[in-house]
């Protein structure tokens, strides 16, 4: 069953230099209980997609298209109706746990807040449930009292609190926006384990946003590759990694220090993608990646390439996709 369906989502934002296009026709579907990785670099629109789903776009932004969630178009809802979805049916885990938490409230109160607000639980019931939730995310009392404040915890422990808050109302969709980027590798592994466990346990769908291809490979069943506000490649994760049909996807892989063969000698130069992301005020009429693409030809310039299906479930928006096996 389809839980979330984006149809041709366009987001523009008014700036002093004129309107800038942040998302240019993003469409995808996510079924209940499934996991979707969204990968791309800063400014590719992956966080903007998440904010649009949460109804948290900046005030100057305008969105067109549809965001269907549990059959309703979120873009058509008013703020009151959105508040009943946010935190209740869709929850979000942000990159930086210190800024996501309120420094002057105890972690117990912060986990209980959603329970009291959305579920109408009384103080005692909410506190008791918060205790269970903190224990579930690996912060058991009495060692981690709900009376602790965020500054008394490490980065990984704070992210566990944020996850406990996200789980509180058992939402249908969890959006995790770079949840481990601020953490070191061992905490990253623990937090990703925890997210996988709790989403499986509660049957939640997961949208995992990251710039790290290895994290997508390890944690998601399906994936989107985004570049400059467009989805350039999508499909089942194993399928996309087997083909890596879009030149940008291959560029990301070649630049990734985690993508290389363990036997390469040290001091090996990493491949880079030449050039820069196009200015969102002046997007080229054709393929958005053509200016940085080694395979680009004249045919790429007049209009954006339509997405084509390579095999069922694997699409790529490129006229000249790679058709050999991926180098990994």
């Amino acid at each position: 069953m389809t839980l979330l369906s984006l149809q041709d989502l366009r987001v523009t934002i008014d700036t002093p230099d004129g309107p800038a296009t942040l998302l240019d026709g993003v469409s995808f579907e996510l079924a209940a209980g499934q996991s979707l990785g969204v990968v791309g670099e800063s400014g590719c629109g992956k966080s903007m997609t998440a904010l649009a789903v949460m109804g948290l776009l900046p005030a100057a932004a305008r969105a067109q298209g549809q965001i269907l969630f549990e059959g309703r178009d979120l873009l058509a809802l008013d703020e009151d109706a959105l508040c009943r979805v946010r935190g209740r049916r869709i929850a979000m885990v942000f990159q930086e746990p210190m800024t996501a938490l309120n420094p002057v409230k105890t972690i117990g109160d912060q986990v209980a807040e959603g329970l009291r607000w959305h579920l109408g639980l009384g103080r005692g019931a909410a506190e008791a449930r918060a205790l269970t939730l903190l224990q579930r995310v690996g912060l058991p009392a009495p060692r981690f009292s709900p009376q602790l404040y965020p500054h008394q915890l490490s980065g990984g422990q704070r992210q566990r609190v944020v996850i406990a808050m996200a789980l509180a109302c058992e939402p249908a969709l969890l959006i995790a926006d770079e949840p481990t980027t601020a953490l070191d590798v061992t905490s990253q592994a623990e937090i990703l384990d925890l997210i996988a466990e709790v989403t499986a346990e509660l049957g939640m769908a997961l949208m995992l946003i990251t710039h790290d291809l290895a994290v997508v490979w390890q944690n998601t069943a399906a994936m989107l590759v985004m570049y400059a506000g467009c989805v350039v490649e999508r499909g089942a994760t194993a399928e996309v990694f087997a083909r890596m049909a879009h030149p940008y996807t291959r560029g990301l892989l070649a630049a990734s220090p985690h993508g290389l063969d363990a036997d390469l000698p040290s001091g090996h130069r990493l491949a880079t993608i030449p050039g820069q992301v196009p200015d969102p005020h002046q997007r080229p009429p054709g393929c958005i990646f053509a200016g940085r693409c080694r395979r680009a030809a004249d045919a790429c310039l007049p209009r954006p390439p339509a997405e084509r299906t390579l095999v069922p479930g694997h699409g790529v928006a490129c006229l000249f996709p790679h058709d050999d096996e991926a180098p990994a």
Partner: protein
Amino acid sequence: MTVTAPLLRVEDLTLDYTLPRRRLFEAAPRFRALNAVSLQLAKGESLAVVGESGSGKSSLARAVLALERPTAGRVELLGRDVYALALGPLRALRRHAQMVFQDPYGSLDPRRKVGWIVAEPLDALEQGVAGDERRARIAEVLESVGLKARDAEKFPHEFSGGQRQRIAIARALITHPDLIVADEPVSALDVSVQAQVLNLFMDLRERLGLSYLFISHDLAVVRHVAERVAVMCQGEIVEEGMVEEVFRRPQHPYTRKLLAAVPRIGGARRGEPAATAAP
């Protein structure tokens, strides 16, 4: 082995931080950030120090540049004990060792032009470099990191994260140092920008004969810039060796744990069979 003195020698370095006092009449508790750490770095060599948050790797970086006063032990830079030096000679020695910090947003003064930022170590450590010579030095380092001489007239906010980190590297290069201490210099950057900055570190090393003390939590990153690696855990070096050797045959359980935590494309995956994402 070489007969000449190493560029950097750290001997039994121990560093305690004093924590806030818990009771009025009780001695303040102390936290041992570094416990008898020893290492050596020859000229032109690169050593990576890896470990988790709190393992002491940043404390080590700061102690090496005499930004912290250790509880015990020695740090010798170019054969001279940095903690035994008076302020003047220490300043002179600091020309030879510079630092690149993690956050290219926090480490550049937003109200200063790039030229001023890059020349700051020069102005502080090499008095008397002014006018055309100073301008030439600024242009030289900006160009060596892939920026343009006229970028000196711009402000940091006009640059992307990767370009800002290039500015920070240019600032470290301006005194023509022998050693650069880089504390997580690419962990705040995007993958493809990270690759560009790592390649720059490698190019500069070949061109200028630099040595690096490269601090990182990511073992996969350090493989590209260092030939030796020291693994730190709770203030101690638990394993040290050639990067490839440590990668292939990690000896200490902590190193194995660190290596296992790095997600690898083609490695183990979580979750069920794939679902379709096509609309």
